[in-house]
Symmetry: C2
Subunit: 482 residues, 2 copies
């Protein structure tokens, strides 16, 4: 009966055979998330919320180090404010959820549930900023946002409600504002690498693909197992665009009136979808050790007659593990094999098996989730070795993901080549582009690939634009994108 | 010019003369919060959000110690779910903000913006809970909630959007469910005492005043400076009420089908309003040291000719302060007096003044925000003394608030006495009550006082009900309440 249960609970779809169904199955069966009664919005169960909590607290602590302060603005935005910046409004209004009634009364003006908070924050900025002494303002919110996607929603990757940070800065000069770009992108890149074991490609978005209302956008892009790209965290330079619409002015040191220079930036729970997609395998999800809700599960192998002794031994092992999130799975009525499968499905990075033989030898068996490698170590070394193993797993996950990324960046020197690569879903295609939207549009129309970004790191020299043959300053990355 | 600015910025209303206007003035001028463009919803600026962050993280860490896990459910609740539990729906529907449109489309069913999350969480509980092995479930969310008050909204105390924790548990037995009450109430009481320096009166709500959908509610009540009571954190015993409506059933250890037993509990940003109201004075707000965004401000007294040396000395003092949130206010163009007033207005618990004389003597001057007491200490003792002073301030704030509470609890032995005390806004009136809603209603109607709770700690013996003269088991606390 237990065996049957394991089958029902376990994975049935192979990642390599059907990525998108595998993704949903691993996300649901691992208990990472669940569907809710609101179509397109998911429930964050303890594993996923715990991961977000660990990630966001770490990013938050990096933000604080560079002087960013947290605030909280209302979730509702009166329609007239959202309309103030035209391209911003046009970009977001098709996806806005509107509150039109409260209690039994009809509101005189619709309230948008925030898709992003520029329009509710900046009237306050205008009120608070009077002099150069009030600048810079480096504010951030950790909150929930709603974008009512009408395309097929996908858990985490394209969700109608998501959690994120939204940073909003105001500076006295353009130069100071621009200097924030590398600070923020480096915080994101480091957190992705160290906590999520995720690499990414940093670069500038094209004008066509930039944030609605920004002058320039910079993103970190990922490649998914199906060869499609997905946009990760981003930093946007707004120039004085919103400042002019929302009247954010100050007297500079020479008593001259100036508009403030602004930036915004964000990382969202979407990244956890990239984590699952990148690291998971046919046994289920694989949690990166630093953000794993449970880092180590101890499974006692209870042989008849010595159950109590083995359990005692398991408890003594648990006590030796320091500064780790540990679960001792002492449940009755389940075989060790069933438990192994369950914790593998749930992605716990390290399993410790303790059976009668281990007990006699004063050892434990450490099993890695990522490679299935087993290692027997003395119980006195267990704590040290588990910590080392978690580091090795993190390193291995990152290296594998990085290798995957590198091997899925292709270089096309002609439009024909690009078309073939895109059609094969082989990842990102780096190609010379003149910078004209007409060439960008043509590729989009004919191949459905867009420019994910123009990477900062140009690994190959740019030549003639593969569409129009004009000179190009840089290579752009083309891909079909989530 | 600077002096004039200080006047404009400073407090103009006395707390004792007009509490409600003083409350708004201190909250706004200190930069604690600000109005937003959404009527009845406020902006949490860095001081207030920082306080909430420190408080909620501490409560969260206590929750984790007793096995409570964080989750996140969608902010939207389909109307049919909210309707499932009748008294719950009737209790909340007059205050619900309804989403009726997304993009340009009309929704086929209205979505409530969560006033509380029972109705979106419990269908998932029903899905996840199958066997006694799946219990208990001890989940919690930290999020934003919306209740569209039509009464005059007051920042923090009665706000259309607020931040809170909402705990939702499910247990196999009534006994286990009830055992959670003291655990949670004690976590709240301890956090209020230690972090907010706030006392409260714990007790049971009457049936009339309990949470919509609960079988019994237990609250912590405060008394405000104007003599009105306000409800703080609460814990609700739902019995099997929601379980029956949402079909949360499980097979017990004897394979018999049972409904789960449930509880909910919450503490919200309202408590920060009680903090401001309780501790503030005519100079502005007073932040309890443990949750103060800035705990210590260093103000250098820059005398001509030795500015640089004094500033250097101030920096050396700053370096000596360990594990503290310190701000060195080295701004040009403001007098020390202006700075003193500003940081007093903003409630920073400790000010350190360093002037030329301090520098010569190798000392610093420590000034307490709560008592204005000054103390000169050697610079090598500064760190130790600041820590001690912060503890003393916390203790003093709590003791003052506790004394205020005690002196505002009155004992009435007749209805006439109660009426007089209530009419005088003299705080809470403890009186014997038979337990009948008719007597409770009569008092409410005739005096506008309600029963805040029936305190656990009965300091005086109960006698005959002051309304009907029947025997009563306990004294209830009557008060006009926010």
């Amino acid at each position: 009966m237990v065996e049957k249960k394991a089958d029902e609970k376990g994975m049935s779809i192979k990642k390599a055979e059907n990525f998108s169904e595998w993704y949903i199955e691993s996300l649901l069966k691992s208990g990472f998330m669940d569907y809710s009664d609101v179509s397109g919005a998911m429930v964050f169960r303890p594993i996923s919320y715990g991961m977000w909590e660990l990630f966001s607290r770490e990013v938050d602590s990096e933000f604080k180090k560079v002087g960013i302060e947290n605030v909280y603005f209302p979730i509702f935005i009166p329609e007239k404010l959202l309309k103030k910046e035209t391209s911003h409004f046009e970009g977001f209004t098709p996806e806005v959820a509107w509150v039109t009634q409260t209690g039994n009364e009809k509101l005189s003006e619709r309230l948008a549930v925030r898709p992003t908070s520029e329009a509710i924050m900046y009237p306050s900025f205008a009120k608070w900023i009077r002099s150069w002494r009030d600048l810079p303002i480096k504010y951030n919110q950790w909150n929930n946002a709603v974008r009512w996607e009408f395309k097929h929603p996908t858990p985490l990757l394209r969700s109608r409600e998501f959690l994120w940070n939204e940073g909003h800065s105001a500076y006295a000069t353009e130069q100071e504002a621009l200097a924030e770009k590398d600070v923020i992108l480096n915080i994101y890149l480091k957190a992705l690498r160290e906590l999520f074991a995720l690499p990414g490609i940093a670069g500038q978005k094209t004008d066509k693909e930039k944030f609605a209302g920004a002058l320039a956008s910079y993103s970190i892009e990922h490649i998914m197992p199906d060869g499609w790209a997905i946009q990760g965290p981003a930093w946007h330079f707004d120039g004085q665009n919103f400042a002019k619409m929302f009247d954010i002015k100050f007297l500079d040191i020479n008593e001259k009136e100036q508009y403030a220079w602004q930036n915004t930036y964000a990382v969202s729970t979407r990244e956890m979808g990239v984590v699952l997609a990148s690291h998971g395998d046919d046994k289920g999800i694989v949690l990166p050790p630093k953000v794993a809700y449970i880092q180590v599960v101890i499974v006692p192998i209870l042989k008849k007659g010595v159950e109590e002794k083995v359990l005692e031994y398991a408890i003594s092992v648990e006590r030796k593990l320091e500064k780790l999130r540990v679960k001792l799975d002492a449940r009755d009525g389940y075989t060790p094999g069933f438990k192994f499968n369950e914790w593998e499905l749930k992605g716990v990075p390290v399993r410790i098996e303790v059976g009668p033989k281990d007990m006699e030898a004063g050892s434990v068996t450490i099993v890695r989730r990522d490679t299935s490698e087993k290692e027997v170590v003395k119980v006195d070394n267990a704590n040290k070795r588990v910590h080392e193993t978690l580091d090795l797993i993190n390193k291995n996950l990152y290296e594998k993901a990085h290798k995957f990324l590198e091997s899925h960046i292709h270089y096309a020197d002609s439009y024909e080549e690009l078309k073939k690569l895109i059609a094969g879903n082989s990842g990102i295609v780096s190609a010379s582009w003149c910078g004209m939207v007409e060439c960008e549009d043509k590729v989009k129309e004919e191949t459905s690939a867009k420019i994910t970004n123009i990477p900062f790191e140009q690994k190959k020299k740019a030549g003639k634009c593969i569409i129009c043959g004009m000179d190009s300053k840089s290579r752009a990355n083309f891909a079909r994108s989530y």
